[in-house]
C-alpha cells in the first residue's frame, strides 16, 4: 500500500514536469532563438542551445529595431506599452472606485439606473463595436495618441462591481465614527475607505496591468504611426514581410521583451494575482 502511494506520487511529479515542459518550451525556444545568428535560423538550422549573440541581438532590438518593416526600435514600443498599461490600470481603478463610492454611499435619483448602465457594459466588449467606436475616436481626433489608446478602454464594470462588493462589507460604524469626527464625504473617502481598499486595489492593478499590456485589437486600429506602436502590435508587423526578410532573432528578442513585464508581475506578485483573478472573473 505504501509502495503504491510512492509510485502514485512519482507519477504525479512526472506528469507535472511534463506539463511544465509543454508550457515552457515555446518560451525556451524564443529565448534560445534570440541569442543566435539570423542566417542559421533562416536556414532551418537553429540549435536548441543558446548561442553567443545575446548582447548584440538585444542591443539591436531595443535601440535600433529591424531593418525592414517596423523601423522603430523596440525600446520605443516598450515605452508605449508601459504608458498604455499603466494608464489603463490606474485609470480603471480610479474611475471605478469613485463610481462605486457614489453608488454605495450616496442616495440620488437614477442611482440603480446608473449602476446597471455601468454593469451592462460587460456585454459590449470592443470586438462587437469595432468600427463605430473607431469612428468616434477618429471624430474626436484621438487617433495616434495616448488618450486614444487608453480612454475608450478605461471604463470598467468588473472593477466597479468589485469595489461595490467590498464597500458593502465595510461596517456602517466607520462612517458614523468619521461623521462624529466632523468628516465630510470626501474626507471619509480619503481617510477611511481608500486605506481599507489598498489590497483590493493592488490585486486589481496586477490583473488590469496585464490586461492593458496585452491589448491588441484596439491599438491595432487606433495607431497608424510607427512611433505610437505598442510592442504587441510591433512584433506582429515584424513577421508580415516575406519570410526571407524576417529577422527572427530580433522578432524573438521582441517576444521575450513583450512577455517579460507581465510575466514578472504574475510571478513576483502571485498572491495578489490569484486574488485579483478569482475576484474579477465572475
Amino acid at each position: 500500500m505504501v509502495e503504491e502511494q510512492g509510485i502514485r506520487r512519482l507519477v504525479a511529479h512526472l506528469i507535472l514536469w511534463i506539463g511544465i515542459a509543454v508550457v515552457a518550451f515555446p518560451v525556451y525556444l524564443a529565448i534560445v532563438a534570440s541569442t543566435q545568428e539570423a542566417s542559421l535560423i533562416a536556414n532551418g538550422q537553429m540549435s536548441l542551445l543558446p548561442g553567443g549573440h545575446f548582447l548584440e541581438n538585444y542591443y539591436k532590438t531595443i535601440f535600433v529595431g529591424t531593418s525592414g518593416s517596423t523601423r522603430e526600435p523596440v525600446g520605443v514600443m516598450l515605452l508605449n506599452s508601459l504608458i498604455m498599461a499603466l494608464t489603463i490600470a490606474l485609470g480603471k481603478i480610479a474611475i471605478s472606485i469613485l463610481s462605486a463610492y457614489a453608488i454605495v454611499y450616496f442616495r440620488f435619483p437614477f442611482r440603480m439606473w446608473i449602476f446597471w448602465m455601468i454593469f451592462m457594459t460587460l456585454m459590449l466588449p470592443v470586438e462587437v463595436r469595432i468600427y463605430p467606436t473607431y469612428k468616434i475616436a477618429a471624430d474626436l481626433h484621438l487617433l495616434d495618441s495616448y488618450a486614444g489608446l487608453t480612454l475608450p478602454l478605461i471604463a470598467s464594470a468588473t472593477a466597479t462591481l468589485l469595489f461595490r462588493q467590498f464597500f458593502m462589507t465595510v461596517p456602517d460604524e466607520l462612517l458614523e465614527a468619521s461623521r462624529i469626527d466632523g468628516a465630510g464625504p470626501l474626507r471619509f473617502f480619503w481617510d477611511t475607505l481608500l486605506p481599507l481598499s489598498r489590497t483590493n486595489m493592488a490585486a486589481l492593478f496586477v490583473i488590469l496591468f496585464i490586461f492593458g499590456w496585452n491589448q491588441y485589437l484596439w491599438p491595432l486600429l487606433i495607431t497608424t504611426r510607427d512611433d505610437m506602436q505598442t510592442i504587441v502590435i510591433g512584433i506582429r508587423k515584424m513577421i508580415t514581410t516575406s519570410d526571407a526578410l524576417t529577422e527572427w532573432p530580433v522578432v524573438m528578442a521582441t517576444a521575450v521583451l513583450a512577455m517579460l513585464p507581465p510575466v514578472a508581475v504574475v510571478i513576483l506578485m502571485q498572491k495578489l494575482f490569484v486574488r485579483g483573478l478569482v475576484e474579477t472573473e465572475k
Binding site: 502514485r8 457614489a102 450616496f106 478605461i154 504587441v232
Partner: protein, 308 residues
C-alpha cells in the same frame, strides 16, 4: 477562494442599501462623471450606432441610404460564407476549450495531491496567463513554421507534409494549439481552487468504502467539480470567440482561404475592406447577441452555484 464570487443579483435588495449614507446628489453625480461619460461615449453610442446601421442599406454609390428593417440580417444569414464562419467559430471553441480544459484538469488533479513542491509547480504553471495572445501566436508560428520551425522539422522527419501556410486544417490546428496553450494556466488555477474546496472528509469516506483512486475521482471529485467545469466552459468559449483575435491576426490573418476566419475576425476583415456598412453592422449586432447569451448563461450558473 471561490466564495468571493458572488453576484450583485444575489445579495438581495435589502443588502443593496447602506443604512448610513450621504445625501448630496451633486457630489455623487460628479464622482460618476468620468465613468459614465466614457461608458456613454465609447460603449453605448457606438453600440447604438451599430444597431441603427444594421437596419440601413446604402446604394452602390453611397449617395442614399434607406431603412430596410431586417434585410441585412436576412442577407447575412443566407450567405454560405457567414454560415461557414459560424460553424468554424464553434469548432474552434470546442477544440480550444476541450483540449485546454482536459490538460489543465489533469495537471490540477496532480498538483492537488499532497506532494512536495506543490507551490513551485503552481508558479511554474500559471505564468502563461500573462503572455499576450498575439505574442503566443508568434511563438507558435516560429515553432511550427514550415521551413524553419523546430517542431515542423520533427514532423517532416515523421513523414508529415506540414504546411499551415497552404493547408487550412494545419492552420486551424496551429491556432488551436497556441490558443489552448495560453489558456491552460487560467483553467489550471480555477480547477485547483475547485479541487481544494472539496472537503477532504468526503474523499476519505469514499476511500474507507474501498473506492480506488480512479473510481474516487470519477464518482466523487468530478461531480463535485461540475460547477467549476461549467463556469470554465463558458469562460473558455468567450475566450475562443473574442480573445483569439490577436492569435489569428498574428498567425494566419484568417487564411489560408478563410480557413481560420472566425466571426470576430470576419467583422474586422470585412470592415477593413470597406464595403457594406449595413452588413458589417449586422455582423456586430449578431456578436452582441452571442455575448449577451453567453453572459446570461454564466449568470444562471452562478445562481445555481449559490444554492448548491
Amino acid at each position: 477562494m471561490m466564495d468571493a464570487r458572488v453576484k450583485p443579483a444575489h445579495d438581495g435588495s435589502e443588502l443593496m442599501q447602506k443604512q448610513s449614507v450621504f445625501h448630496s446628489p451633486l457630489l455623487a453625480f460628479l464622482l460618476l462623471v468620468p465613468q459614465v461619460s466614457i461608458v456613454l461615449i465609447f460603449f453605448y453610442w457606438p453600440a447604438l450606432q451599430a444597431v441603427w446601421q444594421s437596419f440601413l442599406l446604402q446604394d452602390a454609390f453611397g449617395l442614399s441610404t434607406s431603412f430596410v428593417w431586417f434585410e441585412n440580417y436576412a442577407d447575412l444569414l443566407s450567405q454560405p460564407e457567414y454560415f461557414n464562419a459560424i460553424v468554424r467559430t464553434f469548432v474552434f471553441s470546442a477544440a480550444i476549450a476541450g483540449s485546454s480544459l482536459s490538460f489543465a484538469l489533469l495537471l490540477a488533479v496532480m498538483a492537488d495531491k499532497p506532494i512536495r513542491g506543490a507551490g513551485i509547480y503552481r508558479t511554474l504553471l500559471i505564468w502563461p496567463y500573462a503572455v499576450a495572445p498575439a505574442v503566443a501566436g508568434v511563438l507558435w508560428v516560429f515553432m511550427l513554421h514550415p521551413s524553419l520551425g523546430v517542431l515542423a522539422r520533427g514532423l517532416r522527419n515523421m513523414g508529415i507534409d506540414w504546411n499551415p501556410l497552404l493547408n487550412g486544417d494545419h492552420a486551424v490546428i496551429l491556432i488551436v494549439l497556441a490558443a489552448a496553450w495560453k489558456q491552460i494556466s487560467y483553467n489550471f488555477l480555477f480547477f485547483l481552487a475547485g479541487l481544494q474546496s472539496i472537503p477532504k472528509s468526503v474523499l476519505e469516506a469514499a476511500a474507507i468504502d474501498g473506492a480506488r483512486p480512479m473510481r474516487r475521482f470519477w464518482t466523487v471529485t468530478f461531480p463535485l467539480l461540475t460547477p467549476t467545469i461549467f463556469f470554465l466552459i463558458v469562460v473558455n468559449i468567450v475566450y475562443a470567440f473574442f480573445d483569439t483575435f490577436g492569435i489569428i491576426d498574428a498567425m494566419t490573418g484568417g487564411g489560408p482561404a478563410k480557413a481560420t476566419e472566425t466571426l470576430v475576425y470576419k467583422v474586422y476583415l470585412d470592415g477593413l475592406l470597406g464595403g457594406n456598412l449595413g452588413s458589417s453592422a449586422a455582423q456586430s449586432v449578431m456578436l452582441m447577441i452571442i455575448v449577451i447569451g453567453l453572459t446570461a448563461i454564466q449568470f444562471r450558473y452562478v445562481e445555481r452555484k449559490v444554492t448548491y
